[in-house]
Amino acid sequence: MSGPRDMSGATGDAPILEVRGLTVALPGGADRKAAVRDVSFTVGRGETLCLVGESGSGKSVIAQAVMGLLPKQLPVEAGTILLQGEDVTRASNARLRELRATRMSMIFQEPMTALNPVMTCGDQIDEVLSEHTDLSAADRRKKVLDIVREVLLPDPERIVASYPHQLSGGQRQRIVIAMALVLDPVLLIADEPTTALDVTTQAQILKLVLELQARHGTGVLFITHDFGVVAEVAHRVAVLRLGNMAEIGPKEQVLKRPAHDYTKMLMASVPTLHVPERTLDDAAPVVLKVAGLSKTYDSKSWFGKRRVVHAAQDVSFEIRRGRTLGIVGESGSGKSTVARCVVRLIDPSGGQILLSGTDIAKTPHGALRSLRDKVQIVFQDPYRSMNPRRTVAESMIEGPMNYGVSRTDAMARARSLLELVRMDTSALDRFPHQFSGGQRQRICIARALAMEPELLIADEAVSALDVSVQAQVLRLLADIRGRLNLAMLFITHDLRVAAQVCDDVVVMSQGRVVEYGSAAQVFREPRHEYTRALFEAAPGKGFEFGTAAAAA
């Protein structure tokens, strides 16, 4: 604990942030004793350290500890956090308030909730200045406009007068960044700053953070779970696992030649953008053919204007048995609308949905029941797609019993399907809250398969999962498709995932199909401008993750 580097008021090459032996306790009754145990790292001037880890690894707790924002239930038990030599863990609340924004600041995952909806963006940046400086109103105004210009927002005058809801997600995140950097802090903590953004917006924000960092020499502590993002921004990488530091080192070393078993496993789980070779039966029967499908939302109100939103327009594709078609696109591209039309959770406005030759686009709801069992869907959020009050068994036998299967037969089917998704059959008597996200998603897949569907739809089914769990579920889905010879419709925003599972790919943008072809063709030589932009924006696209480890 002693040595020349302990001296405060450090300048020059001394690190901006030095965390030593940090241990943060968890309240009793949690699954482990400490949220973070004995974690040490440094962030130097102009350096980006990426803290990566799966959910529950304690990465956000570290960010909160540095900012002095830990909730009372999570006390710092041991260790020091030195910000330019000053121990943050011992600083008074008043001192912490002074340090925030002036010396360290933070940007968050969801810019909409990080901004006050009833204040203009300009006023919110101005508030930081009036709290921490003695500048006159005119000087503050000038500084606000300068920083807004610096985060590359168009038309600064208009932007500062806007309320958060009038801006796009990317613009809001730029405002948050402007607020964080307006006083030129030495340390910037970015907690999943691009997770809520679309891939093209994400690429712009990452570029902006890198540029600003280079210009101001800010040290950045970047928290993320996305290894693509790590490959884009990191100088050094620290891998956390269940509150312990698994590995820390330069980017190239950690991502390409990981030393720790856990890091190796993570790197092997990151899906690559290479489309694997797969032999396909082009003569297999067409299970689903969608032709000219459209969905229009026409909101009429007694007062006010009529609003027409084209959620999907003229969408056409087909899926053969034993193949996976992926629909990729950013939020609002209409990919989920298409999926929900195919399951008939919503009614399409036009076009045809031919399921094994029968058009179900206009089947009245009363007659739909006889078709429901042919198409099954797995949803994104594993925590909400099972009724929390019903056991796994009750959830799984519900569908078959609706179609006249006896309880005993339905239970037998549930048991064998749980084995198929590699879950222990003792799961049947448990409630959903007793399982992890990945386990729940397996149960949801088993529940869908219990209906013996011809078409399985996965609507962002792996997006909420950690990368290692995601890899398992993807392997499982591929395995099931092979064994049961299913047709699959796979909706995702993640190009890496799409590259791994899809045989054919539909790229959607603003409700329209912009490109449709085999995965190999679309990924290797995208034809449409939008597809190319999407691929260009994919984080870490040129980076090969620990392939050596994967082979080992």
Partner: protein, 311 residues
């Protein structure tokens, strides 16, 4: 590194952390507000049930000799068979010479029955209407406009009008108090249904071919119980109050039935000389309503997940 790196594809249930948390019932029992409100209400229920054995006399007995006695005074009272005996008027007597203590004890029965019954009646009808409004889109508009209409009339006015229409009896009073509460429950249930019906597990049930009525019973109704229990306690508290108000105004139960409102109504004209006429039933009314509300607060904190996170 004590834990294995990853169980990989053979991930079994045993390998995962099984989350053990106290059951809802345990959390409810441990809550201080629930305990306090529950104990006070328990005492009141005991008092109501044991009223005949608590040194009371028939609450409708009166003796002009013992008019306007102060609390603790002894006087005589004559029962229906003409036997006169000496009785201690713990809470004093009213202007007819009736024992206020007995009237308040027996009044507890009326108040608790009215509270419970209004809660049950309004929740039952509110749930039915709310489920229909929330799940059957075509019914939503017309039904909710009717509810808005009922809500736009002050609830006391509706209750007075309804009792005036039917003549006062326990049943009519309960119905009269419950009807203005129904729209509130309907709104609550409808809003819960509207959120729950968008949950992926309801959509999953739809795609599993589960019929609509089963979805309502199995997947939607159970998720409305916790807020309904909470709302029910608040309705009970307000029902007890409204009954007292109706009786006080002379439009509730007939004056020969002892209720706290009736006792207070009769004591009103003499309040400046004999405040005990209003004081004792008033204290019981306040304590009962407070206990029910505290119980409701505790239940809300433990049952409503949105509130639980604040602790």
């Amino acid at each position: 590194m004590a834990t294995p790196i990853l169980p990989d594809d053979t991930l079994s249930v045993e390998a995962a952390t099984i989350v053990e948390r106290p059951s809802t019932w345990q959390r409810v029992r441990r809550n201080g507000s629930v305990r306090l409100g529950g104990i006070v209400l328990g005492v009141l229920v005991a008092l109501a049930l044991a009223a005949p054995w608590l040194g009371t006399v028939d609450p409708s007995l009166f003796d002009p000799v013992s008019r306007d006695l102060l609390p603790g005074k002894t006087g005589e009272i004559t029962d229906l068979d003409g036997n006169t005996f000496v009785h201690t008027f713990v809470f004093g007597s009213d202007s007819f010479g009736r024992d206020i203590y007995s009237r308040v004890m027996y009044g507890t029965r009326v108040s608790l029955i009215v509270g419970l019954a209004t809660a049950v009646v309004s929740v039952t009808f509110g749930v039915l209407l709310g489920l229909c409004a929330g799940y059957l889109r075509w019914l939503d508009g017309p039904l909710m406009r009717v509810m808005d209409g009922i809500m736009s009339i002050p609830s006391i006015l509706i209750a007075i009008a309804l009792v005036a229409l039917w003549r006062g009896s326990l049943l009519t009073v309960v119905i009269a108090i419950a009807i203005p509460e129904i729209p509130r429950v309907t709104r609550l249930v409808r809003s819960l249904v509207l959120t729950v019906r968008e949950e992926p597990y309801v959509e999953a049930a739809v795609s599993l071919g589960t019929p609509t009525w089963k979805i309502m019973l199995r997947h939607i109704l159970p998720n409305t119980t916790a807020p309904l229990i909470v709302q029910g306690t608040f309705i009970a508290a307000s029902g007890i109050l409204v009954e007292a108000i109706l009786s006080f105004l002379g439009v509730g139960l007939p004056p020969d039935i002892p209720t706290w409102g009736n006792v207070m109504a009769e004591g009103r004209s003499q309040f400046s000389e004999f405040p005990h006429n209003i004081l004792f039933p008033g204290i019981f009314l306040a304590v009962t309503v407070l206990a029910v509300n505290i119980l409701g607060d505790g239940l809300r904190d433990t049952l409503d997940p949105k509130m639980a996170r604040r602790t």
